[in-house]
């Protein structure tokens, strides 16, 4: 069975220029989707009956939360591929995703707080969604800290992969346990996760913003993995050709 032609892009020398060519397209898609999403979110979607105009934060908050969660799974996937099949580029991809994922987790916390303050009166509430986002942020930071602390890049790749795999298995468990903890203690108080009943337009707005963030994430990760390639493969001839 002939190996798929796509596998030749697993070689750093061929991937580097490909990533460079693809990156502007994803950046452009991000801008396009964001324009659409913001248009719907701010000009088409109606005012909410209960939360007024303040609910419009969900258009960025939900997108950021989804991306933080999604990117962690993608990161774990690439890390696992890199570990199992000894593909260096896959491990570099995982390392490239982590900072962007952490950024989205942090944005999820910030926008969540900004949503919570006018709605529920406090800058921080220990509800299931925010607490899980906080834990997810810590998982990202742990991954990045572990990789930063290990000097040998291959060992850092593999150790990070184990941590990412353990983390991704634990994420549903952590989420479930935090939700249990939250219902146990908060009882009757309203949760931040209760969004306004969704009008069609609101859903479309959220979807487009999520797509925008996704395209942005791809563009950022492609840029970062190119940087990582330059750093780690700087001594090779193809890099010398690429930067000349």
């Amino acid at each position: 069975m002939k190996p798929l032609r796509a596998f030749r892009y697993a070689a750093p020398a061929t991937f580097y220029p490909l990533a460079g060519r693809l990156q502007p397209w994803f950046a452009a898609l991000a801008v396009a989707f964001a324009a659409g999403g913001l248009w719907i979110g701010f000009f088409v979607a109606p005012t909410d009956a209960q939360q007024g105009e303040g609910y419009r934060i969900i258009f960025v908050h939900v997108a950021a939360s989804w991306m933080a969660m999604f990117l962690y799974c993608v990161m774990a996937f690439w890390a696992a591929i890199g570990l199992a099949f000894h593909v260096r580029l896959s491990s570099m991809m995982a390392s490239a995703i982590a900072p962007t994922g952490a950024m989205f987790a942090l944005l999820s916390l910030v926008t969540g707080s900004l949503w919570g303050k006018p709605m529920w009166g406090a800058w921080w509430v220990w509800d299931a969604r925010l607490t899980s986002s906080l834990v997810l942020f810590m998982l990202y930071v742990g991954f990045m800290a572990l990789q930063a602390a290990i000097e040998d890049p291959r060992r850092a790749d593999k150790a990070g992969a184990i941590l990412a795999i353990v983390g991704v298995v634990n994420v549903p468990i952590i989420y479930f346990s935090v939700r249990w903890w939250n219902t146990l203690h908060q009882g009757a108080s309203v949760s931040l996760t209760k969004s306004p009943t969704m009008a069609q337009t609101m859903l479309w707005g959220m979807l487009l913003m999520a797509l925008a963030f996704w395209m942005y994430a791809i563009a950022a990760v492609l840029a970062r993995v190119r940087n990582i390639l330059l750093e780690r493969e700087g001594h090779t001839e193809w890099v010398q050709h690429a930067v000349a």
């Binding site: 810590m138 572990l146 941590l163 795999i165 952590i174 903890w181 146990l184």
Partner: protein, 242 residues
Amino acid sequence: MSAVVEDNPLAAPAAAPAGAVRGSVVVAMRRDLLLAARHRSEVLTALSFFVVVTSLFPLGIGPEPELLRRIGPGALWVAALLATLLGLPRLFASDHADGTLEQMALSPRSFTLQIAGKMAAHWLVCGLPLVLMAPLLGVQFGLEPEALAVLVVSLLIGTPLLSLIGAIGAALTLGVRGGGALLALIVLPLYIPALVFGSGAVEAQAAGVGVRAHLSILGAMLVLALCFAPWATTAALRIAME
């Protein structure tokens, strides 16, 4: 030496006859217990830490009995968690330093089973004393006897779980700079489910609802960890030793 150790870190342990399985685990466990018996002070350190940290909560929050009774389960669980964390670097550090760990990896016995033996010994030395100490400390928080009983059971199930998860972190950070704090950063988020259900069990008892749900989930997590943690730890150790 590294070429021989270089194995696929994800390779599952080879099947072995039942006697050999028990043998590998028991041999490793006995060795660690013997070493711990010679260094009794290390055991007492973790225990003293547990006591000290538990005392910090009333000192920081105030001695009001009702408040202490409410935070007691959570405070004791957090203290147990931190005490376990403190003992984790001990698990592999000295064996790694004197080359014993590599010998274990190279021996015909299953590396995973030997590591499981080490982890069992570690729990007996670091975790079990916490379980036995907990009722005394629980009394300081004014917990009722029924609550104390649930606390002991929850810690009995929980501390092995904490040891198992923590061992993965200890293996990943073996010989790495910033060890202790890095280990805590990696492992503490993974401890959250155990904390929630462990202290939740005691609070459920205080609230009068059944504790079985909490303890069952805790037990399920322990079983899951027993299946996967030794394997993940061994993979991490092989990576660390390359």
